[in-house]
């Protein structure tokens, strides 16, 4: 009989049960550890019951999504990551916005915008901006590809795949491409009555990029990746 309990809950959610969690304290801890999952947000401990594809395991107390596997998620993420890679390079190089007022024209790329702060301590701001909107998203895409390609091909994990994935997760809040995109909208509203503003090819690339970055983050089930990195051949 399965020691795991599950009931039909709405919204395809698998509820993890902990009705007999107290038993774990008496049993050999080493044996029990692999059967446990702990919510990183509120420290509630549960017995593992791996949800099926498309289902989600949610913490009962703080409602954090703990496991959310999807069918072929790895392939989807790799495909999206490759698209993001090309779009970042393209969006950084091609002209992004053009301005035209009384015969004076100016075209800028995203790199120009990032490097707009010049002189003295403003250099720091330029480097930070360039990092937040181009280099950190780029690094995260490269790390994701490096970690996931061997996993999806059922090969042994790449060398240093675990620190690579850890770095990629640590950089997640610092990847601000989508915030930059909304910033563009605000800036355009501010300049619109001053001059004619036109969109370069990079603008549309950047728009697609933002959607893809968000999609990529929502496909990724971190628990599944960690699990696969730890047990490369089994599951």
């Amino acid at each position: 009989m399965s020691p795991f309990a599950q009931n039909g809950v709405s919204r395809n959610e698998t509820i993890l049960y902990q009705s007999d969690m107290k038993d774990f304290a008496d049993r050999d801890v080493d044996f029990a550890l692999d059967e446990l999952i702990v919510c990183p947000q509120c420290d509630a401990a549960y017995r593992m019951k791996k949800p099926g594809h498309g289902e989600r395991a949610v913490c009962q107390r703080c409602h954090k999504v703990l496991i959310a596997p999807r069918r072929n998620a790895g392939l989807h993420i790799i495909a999206v990551a490759l698209a993001v890679l090309f779009l970042i390079v393209g969006a950084a190089v091609f002209p992004f916005l053009t301005i035209d007022a009384a015969g004076n024209k100016n075209a800028v790329s995203i790199l120009d915008a990032a490097l707009a702060f010049s002189g003295g301590p403003m250099i720091f701001l330029s480097l930070a901006t360039a990092g937040l909107i181009i280099f950190i998203p780029l690094l995260r895409v490269l790390l994701t590809l490096y970690v996931l390609i061997p996993v999806v091909l059922d090969r042994p994990a790449a060398r240093h795949a675990i620190p690579a994935f850890r770095l990629s997760e640590a950089l997640r809040p610092w990847s601000m491409a989508e915030i930059f995109a909304i910033g563009c909208a605000v800036a355009l509203v501010k300049v619109a009555d001053l001059a004619n503003v036109g969109f370069g090819p990079a603008f549309w690339m950047f728009g697609i990029l933002v959607v893809l970055v968000i999609a990529q983050d929502s496909f990724m089930c971190k628990w599944s990746v960690w699990h696969r990195l730890e047990h490369p051949k089994t599951s």
């Binding site: 304290a25 801890v29 702990v38 009962q60 120009d112 563009c184 605000v186």
Partner: protein, 217 residues
């Protein structure tokens, strides 16, 4: 082994700490108490990080100190044909309101004054609430923490707007926009409040109730 299909009343939640287990904050792997680093991802393990609150307050104070010059110094230097205009964050919004753009003025005030101040208040409130028994439900505080973590990054939008404007509006004599010294302080303030929110160990939110429960029962 029989499993009760209970509806999951939160009062019955057993924490990893009560089981003598430490969970990795980064990869969620469970380890026995006393293990120093996560065997899977090598992240430092703490059942509750003892330095969490100190770091929260340290980053909070630096962030707040940076926020003061961010408002006092000009954010944008606008140069038009005959005059140079230096405007602070609030001054810029007031100017926009004078020209009749009440909507944009409100958005700017909300994004760069109301949200940062609310964030400082929320982080301070959360940090105080884990030390003292405050009559505010854990779910609400968890929700507040999630909002602070989510909104924190979005304050950077101001800096990006300044960056785009100063790169784009360089029309020689006609008009040019350059960043003012407030931009760097505002960016630092956002970065430090993000670090402050990240240093907060959200598991402490739920410990207060657990303590209260053991006192009542």
């Amino acid at each position: 082994m029989v499993c009760m299909a209970s509806s999951g009343t939160p009062e019955n939640i057993v924490t990893a700490r009560e089981l003598g287990i430490v969970a990795c904050k980064r990869c969620t792997k469970a380890s026995p108490m006393g293990v120093d680093r996560c065997p899977r991802c090598n992240h430092k393990l703490h059942s509750r990080d003892p330095l969490s609150l100190q770091r929260v307050w340290a980053f909070w104070i630096v962030g707040f100190l940076c926020y003061i010059p961010a408002n006092a110094y000009p954010m944008l230097r606008t140069q038009t044909l005959f005059k140079v205009d230096e405007s602070t964050i609030i001054g810029g919004a007031v100017d926009l309101a004078h020209y009749g753009s009440y909507g944009i003025a409100a958005i700017i005030l909300f994004a760069s004054v109301v949200i940062p101040l609310a964030k400082f208040w929320a982080i301070a409130y959360l940090a105080i609430s884990v030390k003292q028994n405050i009559n505010f439900s854990n779910h609400r505080r968890q929700f507040m923490y999630e909002i602070v973590e989510y909104i924190g990054r979005w304050s950077m939008i101001d800096i990006f707007v300044v960056a785009i404007l100063s790169a784009l509006v360089q029309l020689r004599t006609l008009a040019s926009i350059n960043p003012g010294p407030a931009a760097i302080f505002f960016a630092l303030s956002v970065i430090f409040t993000m670090l402050s929110a990240q240093a907060f160990d959200s598991r402490m939110i739920w410990d207060v109730r657990a303590k209260g429960r053991s006192r009542t029962s």
